[in-house]
Symmetry: D2
Subunit: 346 residues, 4 copies
């Protein structure tokens, strides 16, 4: 890292900071510029000491040079990670299409949706049994009952089940039913939850927090990777900005940016990312064109009657149309949307 001294820093302050850098076990390399002095600090240590150095006497700022994440970095593992799990393959030439209702509401809803997703060519099923809701007065999910309905829908269609876990104490229960654990945007920095999900050794779909930077997202992934679980999918689902015509702002440049920095696959959620069903299909296509390794969308038999997120859910017909367009996009990109392995016939 680079310690930038203030213009008027005294020789004593500069010497003090050189000593501080050396006390941290780093090599100090001062450079005396025409207006300012900077001290390059060389060594294995990364960001940990940056903050304390910033409060040193005569210091203007400390500029980090190395990325703070390690295991997630493409510099460490150049080849792309492919996450495979039953019907789902995500990464490299494989694009996963994960679809289903926001909330599990009933057996009929779940089974009919699972069949529609399978029929249209989806490769995994989503559905929320534990729902983190902004308001304590809103529907909070069917909990274990919902997990059972998801398992039944998997039985029926062979599609693997992706579902959210909202608290570390639920992780074991959810992992008994689910194939892929989803960590929601609100919980991206719930570190106990990240650790408990990692320890199940099931693949984890980690959603970006609405105000998280790319470094924060990758460091959250690092909490999971650190448990020895390599199967992490990152998910861009939109950030909070001044734009109010969409629920969130979906910044697709995250996809190629992340591909440059990490070997982990990147999934895009255009349902939460836009918040309006009419914008979902164009943004699903755009995600694939930007290089996304997967798309996750909300589908409901009757969005108008959905207990949550109806306004951003696709009907079965709209989902079929979306899949047809997405396949064209994938073809044009030389990639494929296919069921990962032979699955039970319905």
């Amino acid at each position: 890292m680079i310690v930038v001294m203030k213009r008027g820093a005294t020789p004593e302050e500069i010497q003090h900071m050189i000593r501080r850098v050396e006390e941290l076990g780093l090599k100090a390399h001062p450079i005396y510029g025409t207006e300012r002095t900077v001290i390059a600090a060389i060594g294995e240590k990364r960001d940990e000491y940056r903050q304390s150095l910033e409060s040193g006497p005569g210091v203007a700022e400390v500029v980090p040079i190395l990325a703070p994440y390690k295991v997630a970095s493409r510099e460490v593992k150049p080849e792309s990670t492919v996450v495979r799990c039953g019907s789902l393959a995500v990464g490299n030439s494989h694009i996963g299409m994960i679809a289903g209702p926001c909330s599990v509401e009933s057996e009929e809803q779940m089974i009919s949706t699972a069949r529609a997703v399978k029929r249209a060519g989806g490769t995994a099923l989503r559905g929320g049994a534990f729902k983190p809701r902004t308001s304590p007065y809103a529907f909070q999910g069917m909990k274990e009952e919902g997990l059972k309905l998801l398992a039944a829908a998997r039985e029926e269609t062979g599609l693997v089940v992706v579902t959210e876990v909202v608290a570390a104490e639920d992780t074991d229960l959810v992992a008994r039913y689910a194939d892929v654990l989803q960590i929601g945007a609100r919980n991206m920095q719930n570190y106990r939850l990240l650790e408990s999900a990692g320890q199940t050794h099931k693949p984890v779909l980690l959603k970006r927090g609405a105000a998280a930077t790319m470094d924060e997202l990758l460091l959250a992934a690092e909490y999971i990777l650190d448990t020895g679980n390599p199967n992490v999918m990152l998910c861009e689902r939109g950030i909070r900005t001044f734009e109010s015509h969409t629920r969130f702002t979906l910044p697709l440049a995250s996809v190629p940016y992340l591909h440059e920095r990490t070997h982990l696959p990147v999934v895009v959620d255009p349902s939460h990312g836009t918040g309006h069903s009419s914008l979902v299909t164009p943004m699903a296509c755009a995600a694939i064109a930007a290089g996304a390794d997967g798309v996750i969308v909300e589908v409901h038999p009757n969005p108008e009657m959905a207990l949550s997120d109806g306004y951003q859910s696709l009907t079965f017909e709209q989902f079929g149309h979306m899949m047809a367009l997405c396949r064209k996009m994938a073809d044009a990109m030389g990639r494929q949307i296919t069921i990962n392995e032979s699955v039970k016939k319905p």
Copy 2:
């Protein structure tokens, strides 16, 4: 709420939506404008159904009229809540000054800081024993050992202890030592944690998430209030915006805005809100001028050697200076910074 139909909505679509509103147990009141039709939906129900109505045929948008929170609302309880706990009083004419290190690091650090806070006129002590850290490689706190040091510092000075709880499974442990439970910004929407903190019946300091709206903050408070615990302090600690010269952007207009809408007291954190020690004192003064009921700041015996947040921590001397200015501000506003009740002499 108001259901706004699209310009080209058909009479059938309008009739359909009128029926949908009535099925929800609300009274539908259509208004036929020169360009559009809107349907006012009247009744006790609030936001819950808004989302599903938005996906109805011919609907352009649904505009809520009522605030989604209830118990926190000043419309429900017009008089301001005063949270009192040992040495701390927050609300109405009382301004609480909460100070201490980011992390508990050692007995000497904690005791010396507690004495300095007391000496300068602080009314409560803060310090982190469980630290939620962005990177898994950063110092994660002293945990129970840290809680014991906080209790010892309380013993020494009589100042009540405010400390963060980061997971529902730790709440009982933390509540054994702490007087006030702090919920951090990353956990503002960790609903299990909110509920568990509420159930201790200790006062809760709830920090605003970096991308949370005012409604989301008040709904998070509602999760705590819903447990029957009325002692919630809201804390504005800055939001994430495009500004990079400060760590976060501290929007002090939140203070008078919240005072209009809720009876709960509002505390401001200028340390996290700015991220630079030189900006902390001006923003602490500004917070009080804006009407804040409390200020929470980071103080460290030697910020340069702090294990976390050194760059935004005040020295003892700087804190003394800040307290002197803040007292002048409080006086000018007709408010007071005083120890709530007689406390043990050191």
Copy 3:
């Protein structure tokens, strides 16, 4: 619009506001809800009076129902506008590809770039002769000399010239050389400039300001349309958010959102929208997948030596690769990238 009264509004305040609405020539329609009263104001008038009503006694807020723009609205003109100008066609089935250097720097640079753009299938040439620069110490453009070089490049290739005008007093000069006038993001609300550009009756490419809402963008377009000039292309070029890994955040959902609300074509600028040359091609593809009617990118013979924006400029080879991918995307979408009309052979 809907005037929402406060919960405690008195009958006198409600009567006062009903009278105020009627004084504005609108029909007042009060609705007495269980908790609040709202007054629907019906009539031709739009937003103009909203602000003054908000300061009326007992008023909580005023909610607009109608969009504030008129001529740009798809409700007024349902069929999509196609802007045609020499080699360029933008809108409906036609996708325009506008490319060239950030700044015009020399004859050789301009001619070689124009040939490379033509060869790769670009449909218009861009280049800045008047440069609005953040710093007064940065290169400000070649001005009229640069315009002449652009005209020479058009002569050579037949590609129409798109160039920025930065001040109303330059509009006539720029219009003598340019085919399409570009209004930059910093000038989106420079109303004199918008009017002067409109009055030339040349097509105008209007870039979204970095903090502009969709309504503000459409109202800025309305300033141009109001001069009687129907040939306005909107350009999404990224907004300012907390993300710092890209220069701006490029929210492609603007494209389908705008297509729903306006008949004007929408162009995307992935060069400014991302600020890194490696992200330009994926985002150009994504823009077309999202339905964009055009793409504008920066191309330079030697980005490393460019006088401005080198870090986001494509080389000729990279541009050729981008065009090949974009054509595949356009094909998959059933749209076409072609030269609008027979042009002079080089």
Copy 4:
């Protein structure tokens, strides 16, 4: 500046970049770290070449060390600039209070407001004669007629007149009547306008753009300073963020931040910064507590009938109350709100 090479940069790429730095007339100082090589570039040149270096082979990023502004920098001129103009003094111990209507509407409105401002202790009069309006259908100002009314109000009260100029071609006209020229937020980067305002040698009040960084604001000031006009007041008026409960987000930490970096005085606009009259007074007090050198607010005889911005305008009574509180704040800070020089008695 520091050129950071990618982890896998080859020795040839490193040599190439060292040569590029030297070709720019800078001294190259390579530092070979354990994971990456960085090249410090030492010399007088600042940011100009940063962008082109970033597109060099093997370059990860270029980190600037020096601020891009010069004349505005406190490093260049350590003592604070005090802008004095008739009744107004802004800077150091002097706090200026500028008040008046958003738009000049009539003689009676202007004269009565000017008297009320004077009576309450205001030190300058504001009022818009040329109004930049988001919608072409909104009231655009009384233009020269309005300027005459402002001059009449000055005649009546002795208060200097602050008014906005929106286009370079109007600058001479506006300067004939106004004492201080205001550049609005939308025009912060209208460089011709900045230059023309600077050339009048009248004091300029430069408002921060709603998405402008501090560096961009100071560089815009530099365009004015560069004309030889030293009398620039910076104005924080709020930025655009995800917060929708206020019109803009008012980040008061800008005040102490700017005071550290520049000698120019800083004024705060709590009317535009909040957009609600009930939030104006608390934020005016907070601005002074944060160290602001001035406050500019909207006052109107009857906000409900105002032609613009009524919802954020104070009544005369509210303004009197605000002034009383602000004087207390100024006293507590050891500063003063007084008329700069003896002015004509009304």
